[in-house]
Amino acid sequence: METSSSGPDRSEVLTGDALHPLDTSITSIWTIKLLGLAVLLFLPALFYDLTHMFAPDAWLPFGVLSGTVLGLGLLYGIAWPRLRYRSWGFALRPEELYVEHGVITNVRTVVPLRRIQHVDVSQDLIEREYALGRLVVHTAGSRSSDVVVPGLPLAEAERIRDEVKRFILEDPLTEDPV
């Protein structure tokens, strides 16, 4: 299933071998981040509710505003990461990195390995707790010059980075990248 035998004309890049999902714990990380955002929105709403608790001309009964914000925030923080996780998939193929993602706008990206300028593996605080890393691939393209694959086990991210590095180092063509 992993033979992406490329004919002279077609690459079959979109129909190649199966895509790898991200690590499942990335949903927890996204949930934590989104819930943090929800709390940030909830606090002002709560403040408004409390300060207008006894206002004579209150246009909303107590707790409606903050309750709505909290409810929507919780829903968003829990449901959205799952949707996002399902939309993600990637594959490192012999000559390219193939990435698929996006809930609202579905994006399929083919990054030829020889076009990669450099590769980073980065980690933020929460990701470090889960021992996950994100692969950041820089190309010379202008509109989407950085392709990011989040939620990889750190070791795996580093291995991909090294594979890409090897590919570039062993490239027999010594031409300017742009």
């Binding site: 490329s6 002279p8 004309d9 077609r10 690459s11 079959e12 890049v13 979109l14 790898h20 999902p21 991200l22 690590d23 594959a91 490192l92 012999p94 000559e95 390219e96 996006g102 609202i104 706008t105 579905n106 994006v107 399929r108 990206t109 083919v110 990054v111 030829p112 020889r114 076009r115 300028q117 450099h118 590769v119 820089h138 190309t139 010379a140 393209g141 202008s142 509109r143 989407s144 010059s145 392709v147 086990p153 070791a155 795996e156 291995r159 991909i160 890409v164 590095k165 090897r166 590919f167 570039i168 180092l169 062993e170 490239d171 027999p172 063509l173 010594t174 300017d176 990248p177 742009v178």
Partner: protein, 613 residues
């Protein structure tokens, strides 16, 4: 980890020579240039001492620089010694640290005057004791700014050696930048009006790979500017070929002239463009004039104004027409003037593997575009120009002039056939016979989108429309805006008709746009990243957008094929990427004489599937 081709903060073009000298700001190069100073007997002490002074500030860079450039510098000693004809006669003085032209001081002071004017504005408008603060401020400003200008001037020096250009500058923070000669792509000489009157020019140095200007000399005398450019050229050519390329007397470019525009041609080109610059001019004129003065004038000429307002009230349609005509004429005239200022005396030469152009009325700009750096060819036009067969040719480049958004105009105004043959000189291509349309459903999407946008503007404004304002037929004016819906539909149809594409062996061709109509020619070897995207609405209609990223593409008006049928988009992406693969596999085979071994089954990079369960 020694990343393959990268530096953490500098640009990551692997140096073709492999000498590991990155192009951007290396801290010091006094050691590298010391061999050359031996060739200039006039004052060998001075450069090295000034270099020594910098070493104290930048020891951290000292460790790697000499090791990187010492061997190459010693090999470079031979050529610099055997070609004294050029270097000693015309460049001997350039090899020593040079100051900028003294008149730079005058220009800099002149440039700082607007700030002073802003500070003094309250006093100028109303000279009283209340506004004494601004005078104090301006004195303080003068106390700070003038010494700063002088210090900056004194602390700025540049030096050109056969190996590199060294620029030292900075008052509080010293910066010592060396730009390797072989990395220099473009030396642009720019003379704005004031500088030209004083015989000065600004020299900007651009290198491959970096997106910004690497160094700029503001200002040197015009002859020095041409000397610098000639010196750099001759140093660059010395490595490759002999001195028969060492070109140009007094900056007169050699090579074959590809395109030029005479004055009538420039005026004609301006006549086809409109510019809204006059609006900015009017507003800035208002700011210079005291508003009270205008009010008084208006009050005094009340009678005439009344006549005008009466006439306008009597014939609203006529006055609207008149103002539209006035705006059109103003826009037309300013379009002509702008084109005249920008493209006066336009010349384009093909000089070996570089394009060179020079143009401008007040600010004369000269620059080069290496053909290898051309990413995308862009033919641009507007409906008026298209009706008469006029087109503009732009090329997309990287690491060049940022002001032009990575797009450089190669021919501002030429007939279609001329543009095509000119474009073929830059890079050969065959325009496809048949372009394929995108899905007609795009009309529906565009119509829905534009109607929504129209409604989003009209409904709120109709809701808040005051009852005593104009309400033709008893309805608020914005409601009448919905009569534009048929035009919206027509617009959507026009957009569909003007959007098509073709995938050929040599690249991707895309045409799009109604008011600004583009033809992008994207060669396969310049493709970078391949995308298909589908928004939530596109997915419902089974549509996709195809997009091939190129280096230095503009952030708006980028070449994408919008609303292809989903299958077709994927198929074309497959085809484009397949061509890209084929091209590079063939190149590798041609370069090494064998297929790429990295792609073997056992060599292939693999993910261990065990870990991601």
């Amino acid at each position: 980890m020694p990343s393959p081709s990268t530096h953490s903060e500098s640009e990551s073009v692997p140096s073709p020579q492999g000498d590991g000298t990155p192009a951007s700001s290396q801290e010091d190069a006094a050691t590298a240039s010391s061999p050359e100073e031996g060739a200039v007997p006039s004052s060998p002490e001075e450069p090295s001492t000034s270099g020594e002074g910098e070493q104290g500030n930048s020891e951290e860079a000292r460790g790697d620089v000499p090791s990187a450039s010492d061997p190459s510098a010693s090999t470079e000693k031979e050529p610099s010694a055997d070609a004294p004809g050029v270097s000693s006669a015309t460049l001997g003085d350039v090899q020593e640290p040079q100051r900028l032209h003294p008149l730079t001081l005058l220009l800099r002071v002149g440039q700082s005057l607007p700030a002073l004017f802003v500070i003094l504005l309250p006093t100028l408008q109303n000279p009283s004791s209340e506004n004494v603060f601004s005078v104090v401020f301006s004195l303080l400003y003068g106390l700070v700014a003038l010494p700063a200008i002088v210090l900056q001037y004194l602390r700025f020096s540049y030096r050109i050696t056969p190996k590199q250009i060294v620029i030292q500058k900075g008052v509080l923070k010293r910066q010592n930048r060396s730009i390797p000669i072989e990395r220099i792509q473009n030396i642009q000489i720019e003379e704005n009006l004031v500088a030209r009157l004083l015989g000065l020019a600004k020299v900007t140095i651009e290198t491959a790979g970096s997106s910004a200007t690497e160094g700029s000399l503001e200002y040197v005398s015009t002859s020095d500017a041409h000397d610098i450019r000639r010196a750099v050229r001759s140093f660059q050519h010395r490595g490759a070929a002999d001195a028969d390329e060492a070109d140009g007397d007094e900056g007169e470019p050699t090579g074959e002239e590809l395109f030029s525009m005479a004055l009538p041609h420039v005026l004609l080109s301006g006549a086809f463009r409109f510019s809204l610059l006059y609006i900015a001019l009017v507003f800035s004129a208002f700011q210079l004039v005291d508003p009270e003065l205008i009010v008084q004038r208006v009050l005094r000429s009340q009678g005439r104004i009344d006549q005008i307002t009466e006439a306008m009230a009597a014939h609203p349609g006529l006055s609207i027409l008149a103002s539209i005509i006035a705006a059109g004429v103003l826009g037309w005239i300013s379009g002509i003037l702008i084109h005249l200022a920008r493209y006066y005396n336009f010349h384009l030469w093909l000089d070996g593997d570089k394009l060179r152009k020079r143009h401008g009325l007040f600010t004369v700009t000269e620059g080069t575009i290496p053909l290898k750096k051309v990413q995308t060819l862009i033919l641009r036009t507007n409906p008026l120009m298209r009706a008469f067969g006029w087109y503009e040719l732009e090329v997309q480049t990287v690491g060049m002039n940022v002001d032009e958004q990575g797009h450089r105009v190669v021919a501002p105004f030429a007939q279609y056939g001329d543009v095509l043959s000119l474009a073929r000189r830059i890079r050969s291509f065959e325009l496809p016979d048949a372009f394929g349309n995108v899905s007609p459903i795009t009309i529906r999407r565009r119509f829905a989108r534009y109607s929504m946008a129209l409604a989003a503007v009209l409904v709120p404004s109709a809701y808040f429309w005051p009852t005593d304002w104009w309400m033709p037929g008893g309805l608020a004016l914005p409601w009448w805006g919905f009569t534009l819906i048929p035009f919206v539909l027509g617009w959507a149809v026009l957009q569909y008709r003007n959007h098509d594409y073709a995938v050929r062996d040599d690249g991707l061709y895309i045409r799009r746009g109604v008011l600004a109509h583009y033809l992008w020619i994207i060669p396969t070897e310049k493709h970078h990243v391949f995308h298909t995207t589908a928004t939530i609405f596109q997915r419902r209609l089974d549509l996709k957008t195809l997009f091939v990223d190129t280096a230095g593409a503009a952030t708006f008006a980028y070449p994408e094929v919008i609303d292809l049928p989903a299958d077709e988009a994927e198929e074309q992406l497959d085809r484009l990427y397949g061509r890209f693969q084929t091209l590079y596999r063939a190149r590798i085979e041609a370069a090494t004489g064998a297929p790429d071994t990295r792609l073997d089954e056992e060599e292939r990079p693999q993910l261990s599937v065990a870990e991601d369960s």
